[in-house]
């Protein structure tokens, strides 16, 4: 157990003293050094795997893009290269991407749940929370220091992952906007990590036990992710077009992938809706093929250029949520502790 020994000055506590960040940094490091060593170590090991495997994937992909695959003269060497990429390289990349999806909740649960609950379980809170620093300010300092550290680590890792995943966007017909890629890159990945950490700390304070809080964090985060997925296509960045060229323009190798088509439908002459029988017959036509006269196909889609606006929106509400849960945790420390 480590404590901060500011001299108590009775009677002078009317105005809150500024937080001694440097000393709080030391206390935070001392109490959570196992965590602060093991999380970067695990992320570094994972980063090495991503770099080694990513270099190979980028190399294979460069060779693939330079093959005349789409020109109708598919050489057998190209075909072999393509099927090797899809059946040997992609499954491993897919498994890695699923693990990366789990990183925020694992970091958040293992770092957040013990943060305050361990002091309650061990009884060390009696000592730690009666130091010169008022207990809720100590909690604020710890939440902020660890939260920012973890978010920065996650941000760097997400950036590496999005580089690693580039080659698979075109071959697997996914894009930067699809859930797996969008949530594990840019600002959204650290934002999810921060929210998971805050959920862990909050539930730890609520249950006052580490292991039940850890289990509940996994469940709560899963519910949050499902909710975020439902919201994903609802951000005000969608475009409606009848110009099929905008959709097809990406069907060449080496492009960053297809836009995200949310929905498509047909209208008859004068913009009237068509019967379902006609619609299902039209849906069997190839994309961009010639439609019967008077019939228009409409697409509701999100262009790839909307990646950053969407990132800011999603990271924004996640950040607000994280701050809210953090405030709830501090409230619990103030009113329910001891």
């Amino acid at each position: 157990m480590s404590v901060l020994t500011l001299p108590a000055q009775p009677g002078q506590d009317t105005a809150p003293r500024p937080l001694p960040w440097r000393r709080m940094t030391w206390v935070t490091w001392r109490q959570h050094r196992a965590l602060l060593i093991s999380i970067p170590a695990v992320l570094a090991a994972a980063a090495v795997v991503l770099v080694i495997f990513g270099l190979k994937a980028h190399h294979d992909y460069a060779a693939l893009v330079n093959c005349p695959l789409n020109q109708g003269q598919q050489s057998s060497a190209c075909g072999k290269m393509f099927s090797n990429f899809n059946s040997n390289v992609w499954p491993l990349a897919n498994a890695l991407s699923i693990l990366v999806q789990l990183a925020p909740v694992l970091i958040g649960a293992f770092a957040g749940a013990p943060l305050l609950a361990r002091e309650l379980e061990n009884g060390t809170y009696r000592f730690a929370w009666t130091q010169g620093l008022v207990r809720e300010r100590q909690a604020i300092a710890k939440l902020a220091l660890l939260g920012v550290t973890l978010a920065v680590l996650a941000g760097a890792f997400g950036w590496l992952f999005s580089w690693f995943f580039q080659p698979f966007l075109w071959t697997e017909q996914i894009n930067q906007l699809s859930e797996g890629m969008f949530d594990a890159s840019g600002l959204v990945f650290p934002a999810f990590t921060l929210v998971a950490f805050m959920i862990g700390a909050f539930l730890g304070m609520l249950f006052r036990r580490v292991i039940p809080a850890l289990a509940a964090t996994l469940g709560a985060y899963l519910a949050l992710r499902l909710g975020a997925w439902a919201l994903h296509g609802q951000y005000p960045v969608t475009v409606v077009t009848s110009n099929a060229k905008l959709i097809n323009a990406y069907e060449t190798p080496g492009t960053p992938g297809f836009p995200w088509i949310l929905n498509s439908w047909f209208t008859g002459p004068g913009g009237k809706p068509l019967s379902s029988a006609v619609t299902s017959r039209l849906q069997d036509l190839p994309l961009g093929g010639s439609l019967p006269p008077g019939v228009t196909e409409w697409f509701k889609y999100i262009p790839l250029s909307r990646y950053w606006p969407m990132q800011f929106m999603e990271a924004g509400w996640l950040l607000v949520l994280a701050v809210g849960i953090g405030a709830g945790t501090v409230w619990l420390v103030r009113h329910r502790a001891a």
Partner: protein, 272 residues
């Protein structure tokens, strides 16, 4: 803390007391008492999962029967049924499949490490291990009870999942050797559950902490599963479903036995 008071006054007799029969009813009660939070949670989650699988499974089988019985096959109505089955129903099936795949390590992560590590953390081992039964048998009996319970539950869940998933085998062109299907069927699924539990118990004891044991269990399990998926299975001597299942269950069982032996060895040698 809960203890068993059969001949509590005697000293630890690991070396000599092995011949006395294990007081199973007493140990059963102790295991329940020490792990009831886990056992109740597992029971509730299992019941919810079984109810969910049954409800969703009946609906999926119903939808699949409609798709197969639809005539004429190419008509818009039949296309609609088939589309619904391949999108909405398949989506649900895929999510259930992923959840079932993750269940062994999630359950074992919470079940395995505390068996020994919590006694060390809360210092209750000083009392528990000086009971008449001896520290090694105390640990062995608890591991055996919890391990066999989880294995049996996993077997039941995998049977139910195999029934649930059957319609998708044709529509999604899967075989029973597809890694995700192979993992969750037959003997393989309970064997993975058992190995995850034993891994948890071993790592919790080795690292002398529940939380550290949990994190390590997750990491090692993922590594082992990945190695099996991408490397080991290609080198099995068998290439058909049942021989491969037997082979996989066999080596996982051997690994579980080794991990339990390692745990007991650590318990026997433990000193402050």
């Amino acid at each position: 803390m809960t203890v068993l008071t059969t001949r509590a006054s005697r000293l630890d007799r690991d070396a000599r007391g092995e011949s006395r029969p294990v007081p199973w009813p007493g140990m059963l009660w102790v295991t329940w008492r020490q792990h009831r939070a886990l056992l109740i949670t597992v029971a509730v989650v299992c019941c919810a999962a079984v109810a969910g699988l049954l409800a969703a499974g009946l609906r999926i089988h119903h939808d699949y029967a409609l798709v197969r019985a639809c005539r004429p096959a190419g008509s818009p109505a039949c296309q609609g049924l088939s589309n619904f089955f391949n999108t909405t129903d398949w989506h649900q099936g895929a999510i259930v499949h992923i959840a079932v795949q993750a269940a062994p390590v999630l359950v074992a992560m919470f079940a395995g490490p505390p068996v020994v590590a919590r006694e060390l953390e809360t210092r209750t081992y000083r009392y528990a291990w000086t009971q008449g039964i001896g520290r090694v048998r105390w640990t062995a009996v608890k591991l055996a009870l919890l391990g066999s319970l989880l294995t049996i539950l996993a077997f039941a869940v995998s049977q139910l999942l195999t029934w649930f998933f059957a319609p998708f085998m044709t529509t999604q062109q899967l075989t029973d050797l597809t890694p995700t299907v192979f993992d969750t069927s037959g003997l393989s699924y309970p064997a993975w559950t058992l190995v995850a539990f034993c891994l948890g118990a071993f790592l919790g004891t080795l690292l002398r902490g529940t939380l550290a044991g949990m994190a390590a269990t997750l990491g090692v399990y993922v590594g082992l599963a990945a190695a099996t998926w991408f490397y080991l299975r290609d080198h099995y001597p068998a290439k058909t479903f049942w021989p491969m299942q037997l082979f996989e269950a066999g080596w996982l069982l051997a690994l579980s036995a080794a991990l339990i032996a390692g745990t007991l060895w650590l318990v026997r040698r433990y000193a402050d």
